[in-house]
């Protein structure tokens, strides 16, 4: 790995550790802040002594090393899933006149703007399905 990549690698490592701590907090139902504090202490301990502990049976319940490894593996899987959430997808509002989901009719951007104008005017008005204004009262 080149030297120029090191800050990115370090940052990814740092974030992965934080995500693992969050996963641990969520799975154990413990405080987010407390979990991060404990996780950091565990990592520091493992840095000094990166070995399996006591009566390790290669299960996370019996060994700190295995527990941390298991959560970091889960984070790797989570990251691979999130990699496919592509940002450059069209994320604009899918506003189509007449489109219906659960019985609701969605508005076009033009209709939304028209409605906003109408409400700004402070008068009760509605918009016909064809987008033309209808005034009431």
């Amino acid at each position: 790995m080149s030297k120029s990549n090191q800050p990115t690698v370090d940052k990814i490592r740092e974030i992965k550790d934080a995500v693992a701590a969050s996963l641990w907090a969520a799975s154990e139902g413990i405080s987010y802040k407390e979990a991060h504090k404990i996780w950091k202490a565990w990592l520091a301990e493992l840095e000094v002594n990166p070995e399996h502990r006591g009566d390790c049976t290669r299960e996370p319940q019996t060994c700190l090393y295995c527990l941390v490894e298991e959560y970091l593996e889960a984070v790797d899987q989570l990251l691979s899933k999130l990699e496919v959430v592509v940002l450059d997808e069209d994320q604009s509002l899918p506003l189509k006149v007449g489109e219906s989901i659960d019985g609701e009719r969605f508005l076009s951007a033009q209709e939304v703007m028209l409605l906003e104008d109408l409400y700004k005017e402070g008068r009760r008005k509605v918009v016909n399905p064809d987008g033309t204004k209808v005034e009431e009262g």
């Binding site: 790995m1 969520a26 799975s27 990699e83 496919v84 959430v85 592509v86 509002l93 609701e104 508005l107």
Partner: protein
């Protein structure tokens, strides 16, 4: 390790915040309006906007405008923005939920 992987790590970090994970689970179950989210999570509107903006920026949310149709309601005809999880995000949250049960 590329930029895309770093972005994925940041998204994971954002999503794994306890409030945002609850928010994502809430939207996975049913699309909700801004005020409904705030009420369901029991947090202020400002905080709701703060957490929603993370998920939205990370491309995990979809949103649509709907017209309220309740009869005899003076809110009828009002446009309302409704948030939901994107299909890809639903799969991610499903996976997280299964992992949480497995890791427990």
């Amino acid at each position: 390790m590329d930029k895309k992987y770093l972005e994925a790590a940041e998204k994971a970090f954002h999503l794994m915040h306890p409030v945002r994970l609850k928010l994502a689970q809430l939207l996975k179950a049913k699309p909700q309006s801004f005020l409904q989210i705030s009420k369901e999570l029991g947090i202020s509107r400002q905080l709701t906007a703060f957490h929603l903006s993370y998920l939205e920026t990370d491309g995990l949310l979809d949103s649509k405008y709907i017209i309220l149709k309740e009869p005899r309601n003076d809110k009828a005809g009002k446009a309302l923005r409704q948030y939901s999880l994107s299909i890809k995000a639903i799969k991610v949250v499903d996976w997280i939920e299964s992992q949480l049960l497995k890791l427990k």
